[in-house]
Symmetry: D2
Subunit: 224 residues, 4 copies
C-alpha cells in the first residue's frame, strides 16, 4: 500500500474492460479515489454527462477498447472501420474536451491515455485498429503541448502483450498462436496487468509533471 495518488480523484472509463480492472486495483491501493465508469461512451452526450457527474477529476484514464479487430485492409468494410473509430477515437476527443476546462482552470490535472503498440509497428490484419490507435497518439502529442502551459499533463502508452480481459484473455494466453507471437518478443513473456498498470500509475502521479504529450511504448521490447 502506497500513497502515490493519495486524495486524487481518478476517472477510469470502461472500468470492466482492457486495463480497467488492473488500473482500478493498483490506483486504489495507492490512495486514489477511483470513479469507475461502465457506460457506453458512444452514446450522444455521454462523455459530457460523465465528466459533469464526476465533479472534480484530478486524473482521467482514457481506457477505450474494442475486441479483436483483425481484418485485411481490402476486406475491411466501412461499417467495421467506423465501429473502431466510434469506439476508440471519437470518445477520446469528447472525454478530453469535457475534462480539460476544469483542469485548465485549476492549473492541475493529468490525462493518461491507454494506447496500443499496434500504432507503432506495422503488422498484417491490423490496419484499421492501428489507424485508430495512431490517431490517439498523434492527438496526445498535440494536446500535450497545447495544455502544458496550463500545467496539465497529457501522455499515452503504446502497450501490447499485456494480460487483460479484452485482448489477452485467459484462453488466448494458452493458445499456440500466442506462443508463436511471443518468440518475436525479447522479454519472452506477457506482462501482467498489474505490471502494466505501474506505468500508468507513473503517468498519473506527480512523477510525470515534466512529460508533455509523450508516447511510452510498453511491449517487452517488441517496439521501443
Amino acid at each position: 500500500m502506497g500513497d502515490r495518488l493519495a486524495g486524487r480523484r481518478v476517472l477510469v472509463t470502461e472500468a470492466d474492460d482492457f486495463m480497467g480492472p488492473a488500473v482500478i486495483a493498483l490506483f486504489t491501493e495507492e490512495g486514489a479515489q477511483v470513479i469507475p465508469d461502465f457506460t457506453d461512451l458512444r452514446q450522444p452526450g455521454r462523455c459530457e454527462a460523465l465528466t459533469k457527474e464526476a465533479g472534480r477529476i484530478d486524473v482521467l484514464v482514457v481506457n477505450l477498447s474494442i475486441p479483436n479487430p483483425r481484418a485485411l485492409a481490402h476486406e475491411t468494410s466501412d461499417k467495421d472501420w467506423a465501429a473502431v473509430f466510434d469506439k476508440i477515437v471519437h470518445p477520446l476527443h469528447r472525454l478530453v474536451r469535457s475534462v480539460l476546462p476544469q483542469m485548465i482552470e485549476r492549473r492541475s490535472g493529468k490525462i493518461v491515455v491507454v494506447g496500443s503498440a499496434a500504432a507503432l509497428r506495422g503488422t498484417s490484419n491490423r490496419s484499421c485498429y492501428a489507424a485508430a490507435r495512431g490517431a490517439q497518439h498523434a492527438y496526445v502529442r498535440c494536446v500535450g503541448v497545447e495544455v502544458a502551459p496550463h500545467n496539465v499533463q497529457v501522455n499515452a502508452t503504446g502497450q501490447i502483450f499485456v494480460e487483460n480481459p479484452t485482448y489477452f484473455p485467459p484462453d488466448y494466453i494458452n493458445s499456440p498462436e500466442l506462443k508463436q507471437r511471443l518468440k518475436d518478443v525479447p522479454a519472452g513473456r506477457l506482462s501482467s496487468g498489474r505490471e502494466a498498470a505501474a506505468l500508468l500509475l507513473f503517468l498519473a502521479s506527480s512523477d510525470s509533471d515534466f512529460f508533455v504529450g509523450q508516447i511510452f511504448p510498453y511491449a517487452g521490447g517488441w517496439v521501443v
Copy 2:
C-alpha cells in the same frame, strides 16, 4: 524530362489541391500517364467508382487535404472533428481497399500517401488534424507490411513547410506569422512544391521497391 515513370498509369486524387498540381506536373514530365481526379471522395461509393473507372492503376497517389483546420482541443466540436476524418482518413481506406485487389493480382503496384508532419510533432491548435494524419501513418505502416509479400509497396510522407495551394498559399507565404514559424525550421525556408514532389516521385518509382510501410518526414529539419 526523364523516364522514371515511363508508361505508368498514376491516379492522383484531389488534383487541384494540396500536392496535386506539383505531382501531376513532375510525374507527367517523368513519363507517367496521369489520371487526375477532381471529385469529392466523401460521396458514398465514389472511391470505388473512381478506381473502377480508372482501369489499371500502377501508382495511386492518395492526396487528401482540408483547409486550415486549427482549433484548441477543448473547442473542437464533434462536427468539425468529423469533417476532418471524413475528408482525410476514411477516403484513404476506401481508396486503398478499392485499388489493392488489382495490384495484388498483378503482383505490382505502388501506393503513395501524402501525409503531414503534424502527425509527427506536437503543436498547439492542431490536435484534430494531427489525429487524422496520425491515423494515416499508422494505417500505412500496417498495410505496407500486409501487402509487401504481394510485391506492392505502400509508403507515406510527413510533409510541412511546402508551398501548395491548400496549406501554404501565396498570401500566407508572405505573412509575418509564417516568417516567425520558419525561425524554428533549420532549413530556414519553404520547400517548393516541385522539390517535395521529388520525394513522392521516388516513392512512386521502382526506387521504392524495398520500402515497406515507411513514413518519410519532409520538413526542412523541423522533424526528422
Copy 3:
C-alpha cells in the same frame, strides 16, 4: 520515505556529478543501499575493480558526464573528440561488461543509463557530444535485447533541461541564454533533479521488468 528499492544494492558512478546527487538522495529514501563511486573511470582497469569491490550489485546507474562540450563540427579537434568518447562512451561499455556476468548468473539485475536528449534531436554545436550520447542509446537497445532472456533489464533516459551540477548549474539557470532556450520547451521550465530522478527510480525498480533496451526521452516536450 518509500520502499521501492528496499534492500537493493545500487552502484552510482560519478556520484558528485550530473545526476549523481539527486539519484543518491532519492534512491536512499526509497530504501536502497547506495554505493557511490567518485573515481575517474577512465583509468585502466578501474571499471573492473569498481564492480569487483562493490560485490553484489542489484542496480547499476551509469551516470557519466563531461562539462559543456560545445563546438562546431569543423572546429572539433581529435583531442576534444576523443575526450568525450573516453569519458562517456568507453566506460559505459566497461561498466556493463563488468557487471553483467553477476546479474546474468543471478538472473536478476537492472542497468540504468543516464543519457541525453542531445542524441535525439539535432542542434548546432553539439555534434561530438550527441555522437557519444547516440552511441550510448544504440548500445543500450542492443544489450537490452541481449540480456532480456536472462531477466536483466537495461534501459536509458534521454534527458535535457534538468537541474544538475554538470550541465545546468545555478549560474547558468539564471542566464539569458537559458531563458531563450526554454522558449522552445513546451513545459516552459527546467525539471528539478529530484523530478528527473523519479524516472530513474522507475527504471531501477521492479516497475521496469517488462522494458527491454528502451530509451525514455525526458525533456519537457523538447523531444518526445
Copy 4:
C-alpha cells in the same frame, strides 16, 4: 543513363567495400565524376590529405565498414571495441571536418553517410557495432542542423539486408542463417546493392535540398 549528378565531383571512401562498388557504378551512370578512395582512413592525417588531394568535392559519400563485428556485450574486449570506433566513427568526423569548410564557403555541398539499421533496432551480439553506428546517426542529426543555414545537406541511411561485399557477401546470401533472418523481414528478400544505391543517389542529388540531418531507414520493413 541519367544526369542526376551531371558534373558533380563525388568522393567515395572505401571504394572496394560495403556500398562502394554499387555507389560508384550508379553515380557514374548518372553523370558524376567519381573520386574513389581505397586507402586506410585510420592513418593519422589521411582524411585531411584525402580531401585536400581531391580538390572540389560536391558530394562526400562516407562509406565506412568493418567486417562481421559480432560479440556478446560482456565478451567484447577493449581492443575489439576500439577497433570498431577507429574504423567507423572517428574517420566520419575527420572526413566531415575536412570537407565542410569548402562546402560552407561555396554554400553548396552534400554529405551522405552510409549508416546501418543496427543503430535503430536492438539485436543480440551487435552492441559494439550498433553503438558505433548510433554515434554516426546522432552526429549526422547535429551536423545537418548546424550546416543547413550554409546550404549544405548532411543526411544518412540506416541500411540492412542489402547485398554488399562486406556484410552480405555471396556465400552468406545462401546460408541457412540468412534464410532464417529474412523471415523477420517484411520484404522477404535482400535488396540488391543497386537498389540501395538509389536512395544514396537521391540523397546526393538536388532532390535532398530540403532534408536536414535526417536518417533514412532502408531495411525492407525490418525497421521503418
